[in-house]
Symmetry: C2
Subunit: 479 residues, 2 copies
């Protein structure tokens, strides 16, 4: 079965390759899909129409490669709006105490994440996933089931750590020590079992390695993840220097830069993506760029948690691939990629006076598509509208009121506040959205699930109160 | 005719008065509206129901005082998505060349601004309005007609300047000098005529004094506006130190702080609201606070134009009233108050490590309501849900998918990305929105107007190219 999208505006692939600014970069093309793939892209009106094709009129519409949500935590769907504004380390102690621990909640968390991603222009999710202790395989099964039920492309990288919570704090040894998580060897065996059970590239479902971050992981665990990443060609995804506190933890523990330490352990490769990187320096950027790794920028979450401004302009200038992430719904209470892209396109202006260096809408879309695809180790499959790439596509309705008047559609998509503008979407050639409706799942069942049971605020904030005085002392009173 | 809203969640007025944080600050109340006013607010289930009342079931809903959009330029609706990302001074030269110059466009600009405001929780707009030279009265008539056709409360403060464009640049004397605008005396007479013709507090339409900013206004014009503000009890609204360039203009021209200069001219009073203030210092804040003036924070626009971070936390800590503004659609390509409030609640975290000082959702709503009302000189009429205040109210549907799951509704409203959540809205007791539908105007007529004629990109960027080398030289090459 072929689909022919006729006379649709798009951002030509060559614009995504170069780094230039072109205010009139859109072109009108025909795009032919065959099976999972994009078969042909040609000037509008030039691809022949045959009887057995589905034909879509692309006029007044914009077709873009699907965005990649390069970093989120799907379980946090249940914690939207719940956690007060706090720095990461304190916020986490609140998150732990209200984390959903039922498999059906985690299933619906994946469904919700997939739906929000699709309807904000995304076709692929990196789920740095919370897994229920003792039910790790069952959790991943529930998440995979959630993503399959919507049909989105997903990488599930279960959060793994073998150091206790207190390890994430400077002078964490002064804090009460919680029970140790599982040992590295056990976790690595578990991950290998997950790969065997769930990794399914031919159907758009991938297992990633998701060590929480160096601050919660032993060298053995990190090196083991790097080894698995290489052996199975898997994305290695981890938090990196999200906060000033983590920066100090690295200084205390390693005496060298955290990125140097990760490099020594073999963790940096083109398969590696690192979330946040707010506190990386120029030497870090150069190390990461040299390795071909990806930094995932989560601007909404970084503001929400007061983590700081990630040096995204420097990353791009020094050749480090940058992608966008929503981060989990407990630190970005929306899961809307267009919102993240908008903020990510503007936020860095506070650090750079030279407007010629600001990120253009075209560059932001490059980060969201090509950059995102590379970040999940799928740069050869998705992220471009070009023959041979899999058909992960989103069609936007330019006649929607939130995209009026018709000025520069790309700039309005990126810098406006588009809502309900996704008219159609395909993942691996399968159409998931048509006329703004999800074809694979009744969204009302999702909304019903989210209504019941309502999550209560964490009544006990025991862990918060246990660590807050320490945090204030080491981070604010003794800077 | 009375309206009784029963058992609705709301943020109690006392929370808006104090500056504290209360994660469970919502209460369930009955609210009784009589004519234009709020007659009573009482615990849920306690207000008696009578036969001639309209009764609204407030369960699963949140009622807030309408927000005030403290600063926008309605004509820029036609320039959404059009202007590249540039610093204000260069962006302006692009804006001028693509400004709509037909009265019907300006009418629809006002309608669009009113609709976007209402459907993002606002009930009052400060329109710092572009007026067509030579058709100033006709322009204001068109704007007032637009606001009346929707029914929103509006302050129209026509942009007035008597110094040429080049005056807004440091070393502007080196630039080609454009024709001088009208003389101060003529502009002041015009404003007085507008007050006589259009100022209509009894029907929610106000004229404000809108000198563009000190950088484009003579002392005579500024002092004359201050005099009119006092004589007619009008809001005086002006741009203040939006950019580093304006800061340098003030140094060049006055040799003292711009705020000191404005104070000397009598421009600072409780009727004064100042847009942006990105480059004000602590002495400025103290001067403004002492005068009882209002700073209008436009966080989206400030990022879009790279203007910098307004010192909002310092303003609040030093007792200066702060309101929110969308700014015009050419520098905030959406006109959504909830988006502005979200960014304004989070952006300042990059300058303040102490999380106890971050703005809470409750405080942000105080700024959007009470703060906004004071900023447009209407603090005794709107901005609170309290007996005697006019009924400017917005009812949110907490069952909407974008507000699920039900955690902390207030925090999710402020920190999420709510869409289509405004179920009902009243301005001065008149219901403008019911069941998500605008009652006063067919929104489709607005969308049709925005579709035709499409605005073209400015083909000529003559003015941009005339000033860009100068700007680069004085602002970037010789800092």
């Amino acid at each position: 079965m072929q689909t022919l999208i006729q006379s649709v505006l798009t951002l030509p692939d060559k614009v995504l390759e170069r780094d230039g600014l072109d205010p009139h970069s859109l072109e009108s093309v025909d795009v032919l899909l065959t099976g999972c793939q994009i078969q042909a892209v040609a000037p509008a009106g030039t691809l022949p129409q045959t009887a057995d094709q589905r034909v879509i009129d692309g006029r007044n519409k914009l077709l873009l490669a699907g965005f990649v949500n390069g970093h989120t935590h799907s379980s946090q769907v249940w914690q939207r709006g719940l956690i007060p504004q706090l720095p990461l380390e304190l916020w986490l102690s609140n998150v732990f105490e209200s984390t959903p621990r039922h498999l059906d909640q985690l299933y619906w968390g994946a469904v919700s994440t997939a739906v929000d991603t699709l309807f904000s222009g995304g076709t692929c999710v990196m789920d740095h996933a919370y897994v229920i202790p003792g039910q790790e395989m069952e959790t991943v099964a529930a998440l995979v089931r959630g993503y399959r039920s919507v049909g989105i492309r997903a990488v599930v990288a279960p959060l793994m750590m073998d150091l206790p919570f207190a390890s994430g704090f400077p002078k964490g040894c002064l804090l009460p020590q919680s029970a140790s998580p599982r040992a590295a060897r056990e976790l690595l065996a578990l991950m290998e079992a997950m790969v065997a059970e769930f990794h399914d590239p031919d159907h758009g479902i991938y297992v990633g390695l998701g060590p929480t971050g160096f601050h919660r992981c032993s060298d053995e665990l990190l090196a083991g993840c790097a080894d698995l990443s290489q052996r199975y060609d898997l994305c290695l995804h981890t938090h990196l220097l999200e906060t000033r506190a983590q920066h100090r933890v690295a200084q205390e523990r390693y005496g060298i830069r955290a990125v140097q330490h990760l490099a020594t352990l073999g963790c940096l490769s083109p398969r590696t993506s690192l979330a946040h990187g707010v506190w990386i320096d120029e030497a870090d950027i150069d190390d990461l760029a040299r390795a071909g790794a990806t930094l995932v920028h989560n601007p909404v979450s970084n503001l929400r948690l007061g983590s700081g401004l990630a040096p995204i302009l420097k990353c791009r200038q020094r050749g480090l691939n940058v992608a966008f992430g929503c981060d989990g719904a407990a630190s970005n209470d929306a899961q809307n990629l267009l919102e993240v892209i908008k903020l990510g396109t503007m936020l860095h202006t506070v650090t750079e006076a030279d407007y010629d260096r600001w990120i253009t809408p075209e560059q932001a879309l490059q980060m969201a598509t090509v950059g995102g695809a590379h970040g999940v180790n799928l740069g050869d499959r998705t992220g471009r509208i070009a023959p041979g790439f899999e058909a992960d596509l989103v069609l936007y309705n330019l006649d929607h009121p939130s995209l009026l008047p018709r000025t520069n559609p790309l700039q309005l998509l990126v810098l406006g506040r588009p809502t309900e503008v996704v008219e159609a979407a395909w993942v691996r050639g399968r159409q998931l959205v048509d006329q703004g409706q999800l074809l694979t799942l009744d969204r009302e069942t999702l909304h019903d699930a989210l209504r019941h049971p309502p999550m209560a605020s964490p009544e006990s904030r025991t862990q918060h109160h246990a660590v807050e005085p320490h945090y204030r002392e080491v981070m604010l009173n003794r800077p």
